[in-house]
């Protein structure tokens, strides 16, 4: 026969289990780092190639599909070994799915609005991604990073194209790389 629970024990179980189900946010860090460094390198390489008079400096962005494939593989592997799906996971999937749709739309039709017009929009979009995910994960460095991206996006609107590349590199450093490292450091907490 099962032992009868006391009311206090019942409350303790509920409390303990809710605490148990709290997610470790650190595991998300790797994606911010992957994308952060890919954008940083691509933007800086674009700038350097442009300054050196290379014909197709934008070729540096070829790095992005590579990062896309890599993060797809990492995401798939993590998904396979994951034994729980939280509301945070769902919210993040919708956020970054929407982010990707808008990003690809802006990049695909950047010929229509001009490269100089689309990069500031992309920086603003980076800000949206970090700000919202910072809210979902309750991780302040991401929220601050998002705000920095937005300010950078506005500054970029008033800057020539080559400067926009440097602003983008700076924004991605503050918005993704720094918070990404801080988040990654927490992965085993």
């Amino acid at each position: 026969m099962e032992k009868q629970l006391t009311q206090k024990e019942s409350l303790e179980i509920i409390h303990a289990m809710v605490q148990q189900s709290r997610q470790r946010v650190g595991e998300n860090g790797v994606f911010y780092l992957l994308w952060g460094y890919a954008v940083l390198i691509a933007a800086l390489a674009h700038y350097i190639l442009m300054q050196s008079g290379y014909e197709n400096p934008w070729m540096s962005w070829i790095l992005m599909p590579v990062a896309g494939i890599l993060s797809g593989i990492i995401g798939y592997r993590k998904g396979q070994s994951k034994t729980v799906r939280t509301h945070v996971d769902t919210a993040m999937a919708y956020l970054w799915g929407a982010f990707l749709v808008v990003l690809l739309t802006v990049l695909t039709f950047s010929g229509q609005i001009g490269f100089a017009g689309s990069y500031p929009v992309v920086i603003l979009l980076y800000g949206l991604g970090t700000f919202v995910s910072g809210g979902i994960l309750r991780f302040k460095p991401l929220i601050i990073g998002g705000i920095i991206c937005w300010i950078s996006g506005i500054v970029a609107m008033f800057s020539p194209f080559d400067m926009q590349l440097l602003i983008m590199a700076g924004a991605i450093f503050c918005g993704y790389i720094v918070p990404g490292h801080l988040l990654y450091a927490q992965r085993n907490d």
Binding site: E2, K3, Q4, L5, Q7, K8, E9, S10, L11, I13, I14, A16, M17, V18, Q20, S21, Q80, T83, V84, R85, T86, H87, D89, T90
Partner: protein
């Protein structure tokens, strides 16, 4: 005089209550996760999951992850309502 409400006997058992509390905070969880978090044995957990499923409190999906069998559980709206009612009833016993 406080009106004491009857506690749902299906939830008033430590492992079943633990499973329901875990499932209430996530979208879905696998058997392995529930076993790890509750610290129960596979046999006991399996029995309690069956009981919760029969009551319609949780939804259980069995499939394969590659070649490994996988059991995923999720709380149903009826299960959520039952857990809410259980907590409300608990409050009548403990003055909160």
């Amino acid at each position: 005089m406080t009106d004491f409400k009857e506690l749902d006997p299906l939830l008033h058992q430590s492992l079943r209550l633990a499973v329901m509390s875990l499932l209430a905070s996530v979208v879905s969880a696998e058997f392995v996760y529930l076993r790890e978090k509750t610290g129960s044995t596979a046999g006991n957990l399996s029995v309690q999951i069956d009981k919760l499923q029969s009551a319609g409190y949780i939804h259980v999906v069995k499939d394969f992850n590659g070649k490994k069998p996988r059991t995923s559980c999720a709380i149903t709206p009826a299960g959520k309502a039952a857990l809410d009612a259980y907590v409300t009833a608990l409050k009548t016993y403990i003055q909160l």
